[in-house]
Every structure is written in structure tokens, then in C-alpha cells.
């Protein structure tokens, strides 16, 4: 008797259990693994910036997978463009061929410009947490979203700081001839001129083998300030040579230089440099402290520029995948949902206008002191003081 009831009860249970597990292993073989790509410089000269972002994304994915909140597994797929526009299309194609649902990146502006078209054709959302050149959102790339304030905001922030927080009357603006540098320098020049500050514009191409002459010509301008629009690999030697040539004005650079790599290269010549960034310092703000600790534990280094922002973007994408059906979601639904998103991340609230431009345009200021990059604060508040 007892045995019979047991069988009666147990059989359907066993069958349904079998069916369930069968279901699970079926889709586990492919169905509910969703791939998210990251496109950025994973080798080459600016690898540090790429690694900062990659680690943030990996952390977000690992945490999402471990949390058990989702009925799908996220797989990370890195695709390397070395930060070079000419390698970006191939890198994007690699991600598309892999069947990713969305891509975080391209990390740099030049590659974003060439790859956004490819992603748009494939209908894959490309959410960059760091490509800040202003015109990327005005070219009609249909699947490109920018999850970071653009260089107009950064250039305007620099100009505002020079105008209101210093007595500068003449500023030298130096770009590095890259898409990013020229874009940032253009805005800074325009805004400084509008504020009535005299601007001298110079170009020093990336990878110049000797910065002595460039530094000397900056000193020769007898300006009160300098804005360098470029990346830390070149800002390092440039800062060294500026110090050697005896430049005494206020020196400022943007998020491309906001990396410990800059300080390592320039040594004590980096002291006093002011670095703007649309990024907050995760170790300073309360909201991101836990993230910074996790990051430190996982990768044995402090989070770098855009680590926290990339983490946020990855989490936002994962949350939106869950929202649009989890394992059933696809790139089209996801893009639709991302466009209308109002996601509160650790660093800021993410939302996009109809061009894919980021709505929140706050810029933060950092300063190098004692060979460390210190967080100063929100630039609007600093300028108002």
C-alpha cells in the first residue's frame, strides 16, 4: 500500500523533475547563455585603459552569474581593437560573428566612429562607457548609445574652471592629433575664447619621440595655463619636459590622462596637474566603496578610470536583458529597452536622449599630488567657489 501510494505520488514528480532538468540542460547547451562583448584596447599602447574597463565588466558579469537572480548565464567575450580605428571594424565583426547580444564599447572615440556603423547594421546595441568625442551621437548610428558625458561637457568644464577658478588670461591648448584629442581641444578652445581667455592652439602628434621642442614652444608662449588633450602615454613625457623647461602655469588634461600610468611616466613632474573626467573616483564616493573593495579583492589593484562606469553599464545591460525576457531576449528588444532606460547605477543615473546621447553631463576634477591622483570634486561646484 504504502509502496503504491509512493509510486503514484513519486512517478509524476520524477517525470516532471526529469523534464525540468532535461529542459535546463537543453538550453544550458546554448539557449540561455547570453554573450556580452567588450570592445576596447586590450593590447597596444593604451592597454591600461582597456584593462580598467574589462575588469569592471568581468566583475559585474561574475556577480550577476553568482547572484542566482537570473535564469540565464552571461558569458564575457573580449574583442580587441587596440584603440585603433583601422582595427575596429574587424574587432566588431568578430563580436557579431560570435553572436553577442550587446557590446560594451568601443572604448575609444576613433574606433567607435568606425565600428558603430557595423554594429548598427547588425542591430546590436553598442553602449560605450568612455568614447567621449562629441559628434559620435550626431551621425545617426542607430544602435550606438553613449553612457558617459561627452567631450563638450569636459572641454566646457575645463574652460569654466580656468575662467572662474583661476586668473588665467592666456592658455595654450595642445591636442595630440587623435580623434579624441582634437575633439576635446576644439571644444576647450571654443569655450575658453567665449569666456574671453586668449587661446594658443598647438598640435603635438601622438608618439612624438622628443617632447623637448614642444615643451619649449609652450614655455615660449608665456601663457598662464596649458590644456593637453591626449592620452597618458604621451602626457607623461610631455609633463616631464614641461617641468624641465620650467613651465609654471596651471596644467590640465582630460580623462585620457587620468590614469596612474601618467604619474608613473612623469614622476614628480606630474604633481600639480589637474585632470578632468566624467568619471567619479570609486574609492572616494560612498556609493562605490563596496565596488572598489570587491575590485581590489578580485584583481589585486585599485579600480582605474572608467572601471566603475563600465561595471555599471554591464549591470544595466544585464538588468535590461532580464527585463526583456531573460533568455528569450534579443538585441532588438534590448536596444529598445535601453533607449528608454532610467537606470540608477553606482556612479550615476543612466538615461539616453533620442540620439543616444547621455543625459547627465557632470564632470569631476582630480589633481595629482605627491605622485598620486587625488579626487577634488564636482567641477561646477569648484568653479562656483
Amino acid at each position: 500500500m504504502l509502496n503504491k501510494t509512493f509510486v503514484k505520488l513519486a512517478a509524476p514528480l520524477a517525470i516532471s523533475a526529469l523534464a525540468l532538468t532535461g529542459c535546463g540542460s537543453d538550453s544550458g547547451g546554448g539557449g540561455d547563455t547570453i554573450k556580452i562583448a567588450f570592445q576596447g584596447p586590450l593590447s597596444g599602447d593604451n592597454v591600461q585603459l582597456g584593462t580598467n574597463m574589462e575588469n569592471g565588466i568581468k566583475l559585474a558579469i561574475d556577480q550577476a552569474n553568482a547572484s542566482g537572480d537570473y535564469d540565464f548565464e552571461i558569458e564575457y567575450f573580449p574583442t580587441d581593437d587596440q584603440g585603433q580605428p583601422d582595427k575596429a571594424t574587424a574587432a566588431a565583426q568578430k563580436a557579431i560573428d560570435e553572436g553577442v547580444i550587446a557590446v560594451i564599447g568601443p572604448a575609444f572615440s576613433g574606433p567607435a566612429d568606425t565600428a558603430a556603423e557595423v554594429y548598427a547594421e547588425a542591430g546590436i546595441p553598442a553602449v560605450s562607457s568612455s568614447a567621449t568625442r562629441p559628434d559620435l551621437t550626431t551621425k545617426g548610428y542607430e544602435s550606438f548609445l553613449r553612457a558617459v558625458p561627452n567631450d563638450s561637457a569636459q572641454g566646457a568644464g575645463m574652460a569654466k574652471y580656468f575662467d572662474q577658478a583661476t586668473d588665467a588670461e592666456k592658455v595654450v591648448v595642445v591636442d595630440d592629433k587623435t580623434d579624441y584629442g582634437v575633439g576635446l581641444a576644439d571644444v576647450a578652445e571654443k569655450e575658453l575664447t567665449a569666456a574671453g581667455i586668449e587661446v594658443v592652439r598647438q598640435s603635438v602628434p601622438q608618439k612624438t619621440p622628443d617632447y623637448s621642442a614642444a615643451a619649449r614652444s609652450v614655455v615660449g608662449q608665456k601663457a598662464d595655463g596649458l590644456i593637453y588633450a591626449g592620452y597618458y602615454e604621451d602626457a607623461g613625457p610631455f609633463a616631464t619636459k614641461l617641468a624641465e623647461a620650467g613651465f609654471e602655469g596651471t596644467t590640465m588634461s582630460g580623462d585620457g590622462t587620468n590614469d596612474m600610468g601618467f604619474v608613473k611616466l612623469a614622476g614628480d613632474a606630474a604633481n600639480g596637474w589637474k585632470l578632468t573626467c566624467p568619471c567619479t573616483d570609486p574609492t572616494q564616493e560612498d556609493a562605490t566603496k563596496a565596488f572598489a573593495d570587491d575590485y581590489q579583492a578580485e584583481f589585486n589593484q585599485a579600480p582605474g578610470t572608467y572601471s566603475a562606469e563600465s561595471y555599471d553599464v554591464a549591470q544595466m545591460i544585464i538588468a535590461q536583458i532580464a527585463e526583456t525576457g531573460g533568455a528569450e531576449s534579443d538585441s532588438e528588444k534590448l536596444l529598445e529597452s535601453l533607449r528608454g532606460v532610467e537606470y540608477k547605477g553606482l556612479t550615476k543615473t543612466f538615461s539616453f536622449d533620442d540620439k543616444g546621447e547621455f543625459k547627465n553631463q557632470t564632470i569631476y576634477m582630480y589633481e595629482v599630488q605627491d605622485e598620486k591622483i587625488g579626487y577634488v570634486g564636482n567641477i561646477d561646484e569648484l568653479a562656483a567657489e
Binding site: D45, Q202, V204, P209, Y211, A213, R216, E244
Partner: protein, 307 residues
């Protein structure tokens, strides 16, 4: 800008020119004995930079070194750079070029091998040392500035000029006054006759590579002090120094020195007059113009003779 500023830039140009000149010697020596454009020399230079950096990382300079310590650090760094450069150049000749010579490969094969070796070496360096830019540790207080007829000189500038001029004088002596030098010149003039006269060609070629490598490696160290060390640092200075060797007359050691100096000055003055982005335009325009009127370079391709 004033005459003063012009003088400042001229001095900077001489400093850069000294570096180019020392690298150019490596191209010209090898061309002299083998008629080979050794494009991998730019990588020998790069390895020299890493060699110096490694020595000074293992044996890290103390903060606030005394004068004697500073000199010691610089000497150690430069010797390590030169040794690295010499070893890489020696290996390059042994592995890449000697088998080709043994099989009497056509000239084009040498050229392609040189380019291939260059790619191999710089990617190897990227793999070994990482792809981040690195800077040399502080070996001396670089703030101190000397005045030289109004131009301000930093310790780094003086270091570069003094050591480069020293190397050039030393090399000139070796090539013109020693037995090794005369065998190099003999091989450059006529390898067959030289070997009939009892000169061991393989040995001479190998030593020529090593001499070029020593100079290139030391220049790599100096370049790293002046700028930074990174696995791609060889490319642009390498191309420029090659142009300098051609400008002065390839195969001609004093020509390479003159060409390097000239290009360094032209490039730096270009920055003064037109801005940094015209640097290479002007440098290579000078090369084109000179070659139009003197196809064999300023001092002529006097293979085997040095003046």
C-alpha cells in the same frame, strides 16, 4: 619669438641630433660591410632602452643620490643598454643574416629578412616587457639648469651630448686607427680581396654588428632617459636615423654623424617655426632635396673610407 628662443631650439636640435647620429652609425656601418639595409637596427636600439631600464630596476637608484652615485647609475644604465644592444645585434647577425650569406641569397631576401626580424623583435619585446610605456628611474636631480650662452641646459641634455660625442670620437678612432677598423674598411672596399689577404670576413661582419649594436643600445638608453621606454620606441627614431645615414652618404661613418646632427636640428627648428606636426615633413623634405642634388648623400658613399 626672439633670437634667444631660436638659440634655445637650436641647442635642443643638437641634443636630438646627437641621438640620431649615434643610431645612424649602426645603419651605416652594416651597410658599409654588407650593403645591407638593416632595418632591425631600430629594434636593437629599443632593446638597449629596455636593457638600461632593467639594470636600473634590479639595482634601483637611491632617492636623492650624491653626485658620484648619479654618475655610477648613468654609467651602469648605459653599459647595460649597450650590452643588450650588442647582444641583440650579434644574435641578429648570427640567426638572421649569416645563413643567408652562406647560401648567397639575393639582396632582396636580406631586406625582407631585416623587416621580418624587426617585426619579430618588437613584438617579442612587447610580450617580454609588457606593452605599457615605462620611464627610467630618476638617477640624478634633473632640475638643475646650466646656462650656455643664454640657452638653458638640463642635466639630461648635457648627459646626451657628452656621451654621444664621446661615442662618436671613440668610434671614429676605432674605424680609422685600429686593426679592427682597417679590417672593417678592407671588407667594405672589397670583401674578396680582403679575404685573400687573410681577413676573416665572418668575424669582421659579426664585430661590425656588435659595434653598431653597442652604440645603438647606448643610444636607446639615452633616448629612454630623455623620453620613455616602450616596445614601439624604435620605429620613428630608427627611420629617421636611417634617413640620416642616407643623407650623409650611406656607408660613410662621418656622413652618418653629420646627417643625424642635421636632421635633429632641422626637425627641432621646424617645431620652432611651424609647429610639431611638421617635424617629419621638413626632415624628409631635406632628405629629398639633398638626394636630388647629391644622390650619394652629403659626404658621398665612400665605402670603406670614412672621410
Amino acid at each position: 619669438m626672439s633670437l634667444n628662443a631660436f638659440w634655445d631650439f637650436l641647442v635642443l636640435g643638437v641634443v636630438l641630433g646627437c641621438l640620431y647620429a649615434v643610431i645612424a652609425i649602426g645603419y651605416t656601418l652594416v651597410y658599409g660591410v654588407l650593403q645591407l639595409l638593416n632595418f632591425a637596427h631600430s629594434e636593437v636600439f629599443m632593446f638597449g632602452g629596455f636593457g638600461g631600464l632593467m639594470a636600473l630596476t634590479v639595482w634601483a637608484p637611491a632617492p636623492d643620490p650624491s653626485g658620484a652615485q648619479s654618475v655610477l647609475y648613468v654609467v651602469v644604465g648605459m653599459l647595460a643598454g649597450a650590452a643588450f644592444g650588442g647582444v641583440v645585434a650579434y644574435g641578429l647577425e648570427k640567426v638572421a643574416y649569416r645563413p643567408l650569406r652562406r647560401h648567397k641569397a639575393p639582396r632582396l631576401v636580406f631586406l625582407i629578412t631585416a623587416i621580418g626580424a624587426s617585426f619579430f623583435l618588437y613584438n617579442l619585446a612587447g610580450k617580454l616587457f609588457g606593452r605599457n610605456s615605462l620611464s627610467m628611474p630618476d638617477m640624478y636631480e634633473n632640475k638643475r639648469v646650466f646656462s650656455f650662452f643664454g640657452a638653458e641646459l638640463s642635466v639630461t641634455m648635457i648627459l646626451i651630448v657628452v656621451s654621444a660625442v664621446g661615442m662618436m670620437i671613440g668610434l671614429d678612432y676605432v674605424v680609422n686607427r685600429t686593426k679592427l677598423g682597417s679590417s672593417i674598411r678592407a671588407v667594405a672596399q672589397d670583401p674578396e680581396v680582403a679575404s685573400l689577404m687573410g681577413v676573416n670576413i665572418d668575424k669582421v661582419v659579426s664585430r661590425t654588428f656588435v659595434i653598431g649594436g653597442l652604440l645603438g643600445g647606448a643610444a636607446g638608453f639615452l633616448f629612454g632617459v630623455n623620453n620613455k621606454v616602450v616596445y614601439t620606441m624604435g620605429f620613428l627614431p630608427g627611420i629617421t636615423a636611417f634617413a640620416a645615414a642616407v643623407l650623409g652618404g650611406i656607408g660613410n661613418v662621418r656622413g652618418a654623424m653629420l646627417g643625424g646632427m642635421l636632421l635633429g636640428i632641422v626637425e627641432t627648428l621646424t617645431v620652432y617655426f611651424w609647429g610639431e606636426e611638421w617635424r617629419y615633413v621638413a626632415g624628409f623634405a631635406v632628405l629629398v632635396v639633398v638626394l636630388m642634388f647629391r644622390p650619394t648623400g652629403l659626404l658621398g658613399e665612400r665605402l670603406g673610407r670614412t672621410a
